[in-house]
Symmetry: C2
Subunit: 490 residues, 2 copies
């Protein structure tokens, strides 16, 4: 078992009382600083059943303004949550900047349960641990305070507490089958817990073992640890994190200037017959992936007026409307901006068997946010790796992920802009902003090239759709999607 913060001995009641009062005053004062600095605070309460997590959470929140915190009891995942990636239901809960989320059990509880009931094999466990470590590291890299508490009680103490709960009709219901099983298999559980704690003891999000044998003492340990962790987090003023070496094998991708656009055209007739044939095929595959419960994510990025909308339309025409969703991505809303930038994509992930199509994506971070200065240089430079990790998460989950860059040249864009301008029924499609972006074409091209190079991983490569002839691009997209789906369905 980890040895962090195992206090040697319980202080006197007198001392506990005094220190508790001090910690409460400090936490009260820190609240406003957290709010002003927009620090998001995520506190995980994990540990043995009947160790008193719930009642300590109840005491802690008495010291926090109710507008600033949320308690989430995670229990077991719902049917719907089971059809999303493992981390989905936890990511959903991460707080906005300036607020607390207190989780009553989290990803440790679920992971160790799955080890204990045999669901997680050794290999899957290792993948899970990698994914948890990346998740927590991304949170702390993005300025989150992640505080992880493990409530430790001994077997006899746990037994006594369970017996006490069972002895009272009002509390009986709180004891689950699993709680009793845990006590009966204390040693086995301790081994699994101990390994998990060691495996996930990250520098920026370490574990604290709370000696939970005595309530007031446990409360004090939590309060003092919380105060100390907040004080450290508030010191990290100018948030900037060293960039990490890339560990994901990359696929060589051409630079945009080397993409041949000329000659990528289709005659009307061929287009029509191909479109019909491919859409029919895609419809069939959609049914099969629904039954096989394969999640599919298709993303579109590309130049303004490159033809994303029409391309997407040719895909969705072929699909059963109950089985897909299109997410047009605009600039983030305030509650989205206040969280990790991938949060709004995590929460839009499809259920397995479903297709999600993103019209613009998380790549906004390394394009518009980069060029318009909506995030810091460190933020977007770090994002290549964060995005590769995110997409690894998705493909490890079993998702088919297809990424399109819809490509045209600068002259073609001008032609289409002018046409839109001159046709009243198309004018809604063109804005001042489009013209402004166009002026930054070269800067965008540089950013896109860097993005294509750094995020074309072997598990989620970019596909460039040559779209000077939109028909050509549509047929190419359909073929790529069909090809990728056939790989997993056949």
């Amino acid at each position: 078992m980890l040895k962090n913060w195992i206090p040697e001995e319980v202080p006197s009641q007198e001392e506990i009382k005094e220190r508790l009062e001090k910690a409460r005053r400090e936490l009260y004062d820190l609240q406003m600083k957290i709010k002003n600095r927009k620090l998001p605070v995520l506190v995980l309460f994990e540990g043995w059943s009947a160790a008193g997590k719930g009642s300590i959470i109840g005491r802690i929140i008495k010291n926090i303004d109710p507008r600033f915190f949320k308690v989430a009891t995670m229990a077991v995942p719902t049917e719907e949550e089971n059809r999303k990636p493992f981390l989905y239901r936890f990511v959903k809960q991460i707080p906005e900047g300036g607020k607390f989320t207190l989780l009553d059990s989290g990803w440790m509880e679920q992971t160790t349960r799955e080890v204990l009931d045999g669901t997680l094999t050794e290999e899957k466990y290792e993948t899970r641990i990698e994914s948890i470590k990346r998740f927590e590291r991304q949170l702390t890299d993005n300025g989150y305070l992640v505080l992880k508490l493990f409530f430790q009680i001994e077997k006899e103490e746990q037994d006594a507490r369970i017996e006490k709960l069972l002895g009272d009709r009002d509390t009986e219901w709180r004891v689950s089958e699993y709680d009793r099983w845990q006590n009966g298999h204390y040693k086995k559980c301790r081994k699994v817990f101990g390994r998990y704690l060691t495996d996930t003891n990250l520098p920026a999000a370490p574990w604290y073992i709370v000696n939970a044998g005595e309530k007031k003492w446990a409360e004090l340990q939590v309060m003092e640890t919380l105060v100390s962790a907040i004080e450290v987090a508030l010191q990290n003023e100018a948030h900037s994190v060293p960039l990490l070496q890339n560990v994901f094998p990359l696929k060589k991708t051409p630079e945009l200037k080397d993409v041949e656009l000329a000659g990528k055209v289709l005659e009307d007739e061929e287009y029509k017959s191909e479109l019909k044939r491919l859409q029919k095929r895609l419809g069939e595959l959609h049914n099969r992936l629904y039954r096989k419960r394969v999640p599919v994510i298709i993303t579109y990025e590309g130049w303004d007026a490159a033809g994303k909308g029409g391309n997407i339309k040719r895909i969705t025409e072929a699909l059963d409307p109950r089985g897909f969703e299109v997410h047009p991505i605009a600039s983030p809303e305030p509650h989205e901006k206040a969280r990790h930038y991938l949060w709004r994509f995590w929460t839009r992930l499809p259920k397995d068997g479903h297709i999600a199509i993103f019209d613009r994506t998380w790549y906004g971070r390394v394009m518009v946010e980069r060029l318009e200065g909506f995030c810091s240089e460190n933020d977007w430079k770090r994002a290549y790796n964060e995005i590769n990790e995110f997409e690894k998460e998705l493909t490890d989950w079993g998702a088919v992920l297809i990424k399109f860059w819809v490509h045209i040249d600068k002259d073609t864009q001008l032609l289409r802009f002018t046409e839109r301008q001159n046709h009243p029924e198309k004018q809604w499609k063109i804005t001042e902003e489009d013209w402004r972006n166009r002026e930054k074409w070269d800067l965008y091209e540089e950013a896109v090239d860097e993005m294509l190079q750094k995020t074309s991983t072997v598990y989620a490569p970019w596909h460039v759709l040559e779209s000077v002839d939109k028909k050509y691009a549509r047929i190419k997209a359909l073929k790529i999607i069909i090809g990728e789906l056939e790989k997993v369905l056949d």
Copy 2:
């Protein structure tokens, strides 16, 4: 086994040649940037025996100016190295800023060997892994590029290579007993290697598995990984790292203003008899700790003219001169300044059974370096934790670590300064700088208080020596040292 960077298939010889040339040119160009940016680069070559680490190192260094790199073959530790902490011989090798160190096997090789031969029990293995992770993280936090390569070959390939070496009188000697044992126990070794790779796969210092079945291809993988890692490291311009939560239990320590100085005096007679008695006792203990091979580290910090020198003298008088060393610490020399700031202390650690006394210490980082701006704010704020980790390393190794703050008040200092000034034989003891420091007394007091609070861990607490009466302070120091030594010797 980790799946980082296992390339799918070997490219054609043509492609390898072309990419190798490109990578060579790039590495050549990067050299100057590394030099200008003073980036220290540490490359670890680990992996199976006969996997070709040595010959690849030979090829890599052809692309680097000989003034900028050093190759260190670590082999097994010497008798002397075995009497130092495990990491000692590796820390010694870390490069200066602007230079490369290439290690032909390092702490992985030694650790996995010790697991395989049974020296490292499960518990010791876990402590070792923690210590390695901290070491690597401290390096990357301090701006080091740490690149870790594991050379992977299959059992049959290894067998064939060993046979080939054995078949030639010129190469026969290169095959060790252990190499053959490894091949005979390939599966067992793979399990131990695999676990180590997983356990130490840090975000800022990840592992790369080099497919070493084919020489040119292995060389290319190393070259491309090296180039890519350097490019990332060079992007981390303004080096600043988020502060970490404290995980070390602290001992409450009074603030300096609450230290009672009045009345802490000793009469001459009592002093003399106590001194004699205690020095005799210390001498006895010194003999015993020599035989028991306990390393002892005693550190002195304190106000100018507080009486450190005289205090140290009363300790060393009692010791066998063959068994101790005093390290007066001045400002670092250029070759020390160009490395991790703890390097010059690591290299001065005593052998077990010996005593090292430091007259000023690594705490300079959070006092003079902080106040004089010799390091960045992030550097000294990070240092509290780095120092706690360093001292944990020392006490885990088995060292007795005793830290003194020699304390006087401001008036006493003035008195002593003036006396020094007025007595020609003492004038060498007082400089302009002492007067300048004195002007910053309040700032120093603040820094010292923060230091005492944040680095008084339960395993290495601070002891304040009230030294208005130097005799009192000397006797107190002797008593504390004797008490701590008795704890481990009795």
